[in-house]
Amino acid sequence: MLGRVPVARRMMTAQPTRLVVSLLGVGAAIGLVLLLQGLWNGQLEQITAYQDEVGADLFVAQPGTESILGDRSAVPLATLEQITAIPGVQRADPVHIHYTVLDLHGEKEFVLLVGSDPGGLGGPWQLSSGRTASSPNDAVLDRTFADEHDLDVGSEFQMGGRDFRTVGLSEGTRSWMTSLLFVTAETARDMTGSAGVATYLLVQTDQPGTVASEIRTRTGLDPLLPATLAENDREVLAGIMEGPVLLMIGITFAVAALVVALTVYSGVVERLREYGIVKAMGAGSWVIVQLVLGQTILLAIAGSGLGYLMYLGGAWLVALARPQFWFLLEWRDVLVLASAAIGMALVAAIIPARHLGRLEPATVYRGW
């Protein structure tokens, strides 16, 4: 209110220690909500890195295939020629995608094996060192995965009873579930015993729409847009994880709102006498309620700001310790979460506000 004594703000800043403790508590609680939400968004984003980044305009799959995570696609290599012949197709390459186990110093690591033709589509899109796989025993590992297992360009390891040599390290090729491991298409076919079959045929074209319908007519296969495939994969992941994850975020969110409310409430209890003074001076219940709500809003806004900083700090720490976890939080998410937290805190602050509304001004005489 213009031209009025900012009592709510003054009350909050009068005791700096208390304010700092309150802000830290509220900030930590809201920061946790942001961290969990950012983590979950990050996983949904990361899980589709391959579809998003590999550079294909169409993934040609076995009919009925909807996602990489949830389906097993098998397409005959023989159709590759038919597809390449379609006008508008710039190039088409087979890719083999299978889960497999890597035996690293006795520890089993599941990886998503990606076999692609040397120089063709489907291989790593960003190398931090080395080169792509070109001979049967070449492998490209994700850099963070390699770091974690003390592997580097030149390191050797075993997979499926075969010896491999690391020839390159790729970036952005790890999800929290698995890391991608790139080999040649031929090696992948050998390892999985799937001669004559690829998981997908990747197509590059400027006219995905017309090319897709042509592929469908000529081969009976199902060309999927990377975005569609990514969306379906996100749905598969969400179907698996969404329940517990959202429950966790929900509980954290409720706790954050309660922490704000509790902080406001204990502030009220500590200052009961001062509210009594304001009332004795002639403040109506509504003025008192405004004071409490004003402090709640200030606390929630400042706490959200601090929470965002804590989120950044937390995300940074996680990135150091567990690089396979990504974070993604857009401003919209932050605003929605923060305003929801403020809204819930306001609802929760009604209890202390009502309590004060009924406060007798004679409280000023009591020894608290």
């Binding site: 209110m1 213009l2 031209g3 009025r4 004594v5 009592v7 003054r10 009350m11 909050m12 800043t13 009068a14 005791q15 006498r273 001062e274 003074i277 304001v278 009332k279 004795a280 001076m281 002639g282 403040a283 109506g284 219940s285 003025v287 007798e360 001004p361 004679a362 000023v364 005489y365």
Partner: protein, 286 residues
């Protein structure tokens, strides 16, 4: 005789029920005229604070009326009370009751805000009041940076902010040393005289008598006749003779505030010289 600014008619307050029923104030009749300073005295627990709270619309009486310029504030609906408190009464408390988070200026300004005055008008009025009370150099100080006397002067400025017809002061000097206490008492006296406000003070401090036009004695929730009042010869406290510890001395019956004072007097008189207030350490009752 002018119309009383403040009047209480058959004012009563009880707490609890049946076995636990306590009469804090019983059937009190009382009037204060404009410009008059009335001092209510009485021992602790006599109902002084309860009476003052009822006079100031901070506590609803169990029965009876409180009239301010002829209007019964005890019958005013709850929703209208805050406005009434803001504009009709100015409160001065024993422990000042300033808001620790606000500056001296803001404490006064807030009172104006609550009565509907805001912005520059409120600020200028607050500054003017504080300057008048000699606090022009303390405007931005917070209560914890002020001395006791300064705090009480801020509280008085706050009480005067909305030019209320009635000033209610609860032990206004109890937390101050005697010199400052005296200053505050004279200030309240001057306010009553110069601005024609009705001032009601509640106190143990008999030094306030000198600024009061009238002193009334409240004990066990009822006013006692001041003619029955005497002074404890040991500690100097005012004592109502009815039911008080007493002894027969050469100069007549002496009344004491407590048995301890009586016994001390008796012991001293045996040894030769009865003690007086000057050589007894008076505990300052808060």
């Amino acid at each position: 005789m002018s119309e009383p600014t403040l009047a209480a008619r058959q004012l009563e307050k009880t707490y609890g029920e049946d076995a636990t029923l306590v009469h804090a104030v019983r059937h009190v009749d009382f009037e204060v005229e404009p410009g008059e300073v009335v001092l209510i005295m009485g021992p602790s627990g006599s109902g002084k604070t309860t009476l003052l709270s009822m006079l100031g619309a901070m506590l609803r009486p169990t029965s009876g009326e409180v009239l301010v310029n002829g209007v019964d504030i005890a019958a005013v609906p709850e929703a209208r009370l805050p406005k009434l408190r803001a504009t009709t009464f100015g409160f001065v408390f024993q422990d000042f009751n300033l808001l620790g988070a606000l500056t001296a200026l803001e404490n006064v300004e807030l009172a104006l805000n609550l009565a509907g005055t805001s912005g520059r008008t409120a600020r200028e009025r607050a500054e003017e009041l504080l300057a008048r009370l000699g606090l022009a150099g303390r405007l931005t100080f917070r209560p914890d940076q002020l001395s006791g006397g300064e705090k009480q002067r801020v509280a008085i400025a706050r009480a005067l902010a909305n030019q209320p017809p009635v000033i209610l002061a609860d032990e206004p000097t109890a937390n101050l040393d005697s010199k400052i206490g005296h200053e505050i008492a004279r200030l309240l006296r001057a306010i009553a005289t110069e601005e024609q406000r009705a001032v009601v003070m509640v106190s143990h401090d008999s030094r306030l008598k000198e600024v009061a036009d009238r002193v009334v004695w409240l004990e066990d929730g009822v006013f006692r006749d001041l003619d029955d009042m005497t002074t404890d010869p040991v500690c100097g406290m005012s004592v109502h003779s009815e039911g008080a510890p007493h002894l027969q001395a050469e100069e007549g019956i002496l009344y004491f505030c407590s048995r301890a004072c009586r016994d001390e007097y008796a012991a001293a008189s045996v040894s030769g010289r009865p003690p007086t207030a000057s050589d007894v350490n008076i505990p300052n009752e808060a």
